[in-house]
Amino acid sequence: MAVIPLERKPLTLAERTYLPQILQGLKTTMQHLVAPAVTLEYPEQRPEIPTGYRGVPTLVKDPNGREKCVSCQLCEFVCPPKAIRITPGEISVDSPNAHVEKAPKEFDIDMLRCIYCGMCQEVCPEEAIWLQSNYSMTGLSREEMVNNKARLYELGGTLPDNHHKWDKKKAAEEHGNAH
């Protein structure tokens, strides 16, 4: 048993008067009085957001400007607070992206429900939904706090990846080796 009995020494007279301790404390107080502030003055100064930060969820496009979401609705199913609501839609045949077949018609994320858990990002097979560095969502009404599809793409922007999964699939099909 690693028990070390410590002898509790009785306090000295100086310690019992508290005074040396109070003087020591005053010294610390004075040091902090002149120390520079460690806080940020928020709206003017913004914190530096580390990579991997889980901010507001957004939808992203691929480098060709194609929306990556194929409305599989996995994020909608996995979302713990049921903040995501997707209305699936089809891509018209005359679109250059017709081979992708599906895209969301409506995509709403209710930021009053969202808990920023990042499960939607984790579950997305298309890497289409990302929690990015925006941490400040404000609005004056409940409606304003629901991000619709247009807003989500505006917040998300383009992800500079080079998977081009669907283009490769289309090219493979055209060469006759669809798997």
Binding site: I22, T29, H32, L33, P36, A37, V38, T39
Partner: protein, 396 residues
């Protein structure tokens, strides 16, 4: 008709009223500024910038100074005060209305009355005699301060009782117990000072101006004549220390603010108060602090004398000798100089109050009682005995 008006406006009574109003007009803003300074010092001690946003538009136009004042948070005094004045002043339904409203008013009265016997400066007449600047130069002096300032506890008791809810009531019970126990040691701790200045064969007085006069001596070499220049804080450090600790307890400052400890009593006697009525308690508390610091400085740290063995009179004399300007011995200049020195000391003292607030954690209620009765009271009595015997031998 005109002469009659002038004779009324310059009658001694009218002049006393002017002086009283002027003193109140100084104390009130200082109390407001202190609340601001409290927020600012608290922020600095906690390594944050503190209030620094409010600004009056036309001050913002001043290029450098405006920005500086804004960062200093000066205009938050007005913002805070304005908020306090204009927010809804609700009176809860379950209180005793008359006493509930009377309590904050009663808190203000003793806080501002004590100012009248506290000298805050001095000037020299043609004969070179020092005339203290004081509203009422009473012989009872300090006794009047103790008598009146202890009335302040009635307002707390009244507030706690009239609020008709348990936390205010508990708070007011604590307030009465704490103030009574610390008043004893406080009064006993200053007795050596008055034993010293009321030597046998002199006219006795408890006036504070006389105390400062005793600390205005100059350096006469290593002889007993030099005693006069030493401030009582150095002659009687234990008295000064006990007085200081009691001052913290009497003004409900940390570490003795068990009376209004938010953690266990919500807000104590001002739980049910809001807006302007709460503001009155607040200003009364700061007035107590200012007057208390003033008395501490007068009793133990030389009042308006800049340094030990360097009384105001010598300083003014030197200034006149060196510069040769006549205005340096003009009573008005001397008066303003003495007030400035005294106010500077009082504000330094208030800063000390704030520094202690962020240094020492709050004592528990039973610890407060133990310190008061089992430490400070015996210590002050022993201190009194030692000094009484010593003074008897010196002054026999």
């Amino acid at each position: 008709m005109f002469d009659f008006l002038i004779s009324i406006l310059t009658s001694p009574l009218a002049i006393t009223i002017y002086k009283g109003v002027a003193a109140i007009l100084v104390i009130f803003p200082i109390a407001g500024v202190c609340s601001m300074a409290e927020r600012k010092v608290a922020a600095w001690v906690q390594d944050r910038p503190g209030p620094n946003r409010a600004i009056v538009p036309w001050v913002a136009w001043i290029p450098f100074l405006g920005r500086f004042l804004q960062r200093l948070g000066v205009f938050h005094v007005m913002a805070d005060g304005g908020k306090m004045l204009f927010k809804e002043d609700s009176t809860p339904g379950h209180v005793n209305k008359f006493y509930f409203i009377a309590a904050p008013l009663l808190a203000m009265i003793p806080a501002l009355t004590t100012v009248s016997v506290v000298p805050f400066g001095t000037y020299f007449d043609e004969a070179g005699k020092a005339i203290p600047l004081i509203l009422a130069n009473l012989d009872v002096g300090l006794l009047a301060v103790f008598a009146i300032s202890s009335l302040g506890v009635y307002s707390l008791i009244l507030a706690g009782w009239a609020s008709n809810s348990k936390y205010p009531f508990l708070g007011s019970v604590r307030a009465s117990a704490q103030l009574i126990s610390y008043e004893l040691s406080m009064t006993i701790s200053v007795l050596p000072v008055f034993l010293w200045i009321n030597a046998p064969g002199t006219t006795g007085t408890l006036g504070l101006a006389r105390v400062v006069e005793f600390q205005s001596g100059i350096w006469h070499g290593l002889s007993s004549a030099s005693w006069g220049g030493v401030w009582f804080g150095f002659l009687m450090p234990i008295s000064a220390f006990i007085f200081l600790v009691c001052l913290f307890a009497e003004t409900n400052r940390q570490p003795f603010d068990t009376i209004e400890s938010e953690a266990d009593l919500v807000g104590s006697f001002h739980t049910e108060y809001g807006a302007f009525k709460w503001g009155l308690f607040f200003v009364a508390e700061y007035s107590h602090m200012i007057v208390g610091s003033g008395i501490f400085m007068l009793l133990f740290f030389g009042g308006w004398n800049p340094l030990p063995w360097l009384p105001l009179g010598s300083v003014v004399g030197w200034m006149h000798q060196i510069t040769g300007w006549a205005f340096t011995i003009h009573p008005l200049f001397v008066g303003i100089l003495s007030i400035a020195i005294f106010l500077g000391k009082v504000l330094a003292m208030i800063f000390f109050f704030m520094a202690i607030r962020w240094t020492v954690p709050r004592f528990r209620y039973d610890q407060v009682m133990r310190i008061g009765w089992r430490v400070l009271l015996p210590l002050s009595i022993a201190n009194l005995l030692v000094y009484a015997i010593a003074i008897a031998f010196i002054q026999k």
